[in-house]
């Protein structure tokens, strides 16, 4: 600690250069904090997902390919299946193209399969009885200040029979999901599948997925095989798996987010290493005679090496702390404003720890060569300018 004032003074010897370098480090770690927050959100999104006794059947090639609704009866005929229901998805916007509203259309009994989602009995009944009825998640309703009884027109990517893309819904209820990992799903609007199918211009009689309740997930494999065998060699081959496996598959795709984030951060930090490495090398080059003086008055080669490494680590840590603090505030601000629909974890201790370790490693790497130079310098040569 007694060397800290010396390291600090050396670091800010050329203030503009240090400030600009610090800003670069800050920007890199701000980006790190934000991206790691997103990556962390995706990585942990699948934790604690219920649905141990549910299977999902969807298009074999990809999720979202249309499947005939008539498969429901065939699926329900498979031994071990208790109940099957279906749904479809399309996109809407509210008033402004920026205000996205995902819409899922469910068959009448679909919500029976999700007892863990809280919907008041009267809202549920109203949804069942009202063809144009819709249920909004708490987050969605809060976001657009919707209340039960509101009539909500949404612009969509689903054309109606009359050529209009605007679908109008009567908000009959609000639903809530208590699982924090699924909270972001409160951003979806539920509608009746019949209303969708009667109103849409194309794709009639098709659904995008079936959700299936089975007697026991232990029989999931034979049941899945039996369900997929129904459509084998057809133009709508299916893939059936447990809901948890489906989530796991999605999260594997989210892992690609981790890869993308990692690649971006790799490029950012590589640039940072070059930048700060150059700054440190320059700073040490300018101070060769000062280091010679330190050695002259008794600082050992190891002391000098420590001072240079301390300087580069301090530079990186300072920038990292400022950048991560800014990221923490920014993520908190975004989450406060947009709620949990936004896939960002709070910039927690683990992200800070990762960031600070990374900063120390970069500090050590960029300081190593200049430190070695400072350590090896010969006093008489340095003092005579050789």
């Amino acid at each position: 600690m007694k060397y800290l004032p010396l390291i600090w003074a050396a670091l800010f010897r050329r203030k503009p250069r240090t400030v600009f370098t610090l800003l670069s480090v800050l920007a890199a770690f701000l980006l790190f904090g934000l991206l790691d927050s997103v990556r962390s959100a995706f990585m942990h999104a699948g934790e604690g997902i219920p649905g141990a006794d549910r299977l999902v059947t969807n298009g074999k090639i990809r999720f979202g390919l249309p499947l005939p609704r008539s498969l429901q009866a065939d699926i329900e005929g498979v031994p071990g299946v208790v109940k099957a229901s279906y749904g479809s998805f399309f996109r809407g916007t509210y008033r402004d193209p920026k205000n996205a509203v995902p819409i899922e259309a469910y068959e009448e009994h679909y919500l029976d399969l999700y007892p863990e989602w809280f919907i008041a009995a009267d809202h549920r009944e109203a949804f069942r009885k009202t063809r144009t009825g819709a249920l909004a998640g708490e987050i969605l309703a809060k976001k657009y200040n919707w209340k039960v009884g509101d009539r909500i027109p949404l612009q969509t990517n689903m054309t109606q029979m009359d050529g209009s893309d605007t679908w109008t819904f009567d908000l009959v209820g609000i639903y809530r999901i208590d699982n924090p990992n699924l909270k972001m799903m409160e951003g979806i609007l539920y509608m009746n599948w019949e209303y969708l199918d009667e109103g849409r211009q194309s794709g009639k009689g098709t659904v995008e997925w079936f959700t299936i309740q089975v007697v026991s997930l232990k029989q999931a494999d034979p049941i899945s095989r039996a369900i997929d065998a129904i459509s084998a060699n057809s133009d709508h081959e299916t893939k059936t798996q447990s809901e948890m496996a489906l989530y796991a598959e999605w999260f594997r795709r989210f892992a690609d987010v981790g890869l993308i984030v990692g690649s971006i951060m790799g490029a950012v930090f590589f640039t940072l290493v070059l930048l700060t490495g150059n700054v440190m090398a320059q700073a040490v080059r300018e101070r060769i005679s000062e280091m010679a003086i330190l050695k002259t008055i008794g600082f050992t080669a190891r002391n000098v090496m420590g001072l240079v490494l301390g300087e580069s680590i301090l530079l990186l840590l300072l920038g990292a702390v400022l950048g991560l603090a800014l990221a923490t505030a920014a993520v908190a601000g975004v989450r406060l404003r947009l709620g949990p629909t936004v896939p960002m974890s709070p910039v927690a201790g683990t992200i800070w720890l990762r960031g600070l370790i990374l900063a120390s490693i970069i500090g050590l790497s960029v300081g190593a060569m200049p430190a070695l130079r400072g350590m090896r310098l010969r006093i008489v040569d340095a003092l005579s300018g050789r």
Binding site: K2, Y3, P5, L6, A9, A10, F12, R13, S289, E290, I293, L294, K295, T296, I297, G298, F299, T300, A301, R302, N303, I379, V380, L383
Partner: protein, 229 residues
């Protein structure tokens, strides 16, 4: 009593294929509390000898015994520790760290000790008072005159109370009055505080402040035109 005993000291520099013998079998004794001026033309080996006495460089041959210790046998790290507690250095161009205040510059050698921050500050204050710059402690080198900077450098050299001060052209960059002030200060440190001082100078007037003068020419000690063994 000899504080410094130099025997058959030689120093050869090799610059590429060129071989330069900077010192050639030098023998010299310097007693405790002495103030010696090293004089000679450029390239005569004065600074080389000073660097060897100060433990900044190692001889090619011969021995340097200071206060009973063979410093020519010390490794780099041991030599650094020896310098920290036995020698103070004063250079022609002051060599203060520009980003530190006078106080912090003087405290630098004390960072290598176990003294507390308060103790270091107090000792640095005393050293600055001793050189007459107690009121300039907070000033950075750039805010001080050349003479004042050199006095800060002297305060830094004496703050850890070394027995020896080695001074390389300490007045070479100063005006006449500042030079007189610095030389008077060095003389006081020698006479009143018992510092053994070895000073390289080109200036005969500066040399007059020393107790005696040693001349070097072409790497050998000379006196009145004669080469000494």
């Amino acid at each position: 009593m000899n504080l410094i005993e130099i025997r058959n000291l030689s120093k050869v520099y090799e610059r590429g294929v060129q071989r330069v013998e900077a010192l050639h079998h030098v023998n010299l004794d310097i007693t405790k509390d002495d103030f010696v001026a090293l004089m000679g033309p450029s390239g005569s080996g004065k600074t080389t000898l000073l660097n060897l006495i100060g433990g900044l460089d190692s001889p090619t041959d011969g021995s340097i015994t200071i206060n009973g210790s063979r410093i020519d046998r010390l490794g780099e790290s041991a030599l650094a520790k020896w310098r920290a507690s036995n020698v103070g250095f004063v250079f022609q161009f002051y060599n203060l760290l520009p980003m530190l205040s006078a106080q912090k510059n003087v405290e630098l050698p004390l960072l290598l000790t176990n003294l507390s921050s308060a103790h270091r500050k107090r000792n640095a204050g005393i050293a600055l008072e001793l050189v007459g710059l107690g009121d300039r402690a907070a000033h950075k080198p750039g805010e001080l005159s050349g003479g004042q900077q050199q006095r800060v450098a002297i305060a830094r050299a004496i703050v850890s109370d070394p027995a020896i001060l080695v001074c390389d052209e300490p007045t070479g960059d100063l005006d006449r009055q500042s030079a007189v002030d610095v030389l008077t200060l060095l003389q006081q440190l020698n006479r009143n505080h018992g510092k053994t001082i070895i000073m390289v100078t080109h200036d005969p007037k500066a040399a007059e402040y020393a107790n005696h003068t040693v001349h070097l020419d072409k790497g050998s000690l000379v006196e009145a035109g004669e080469v000494l063994a």
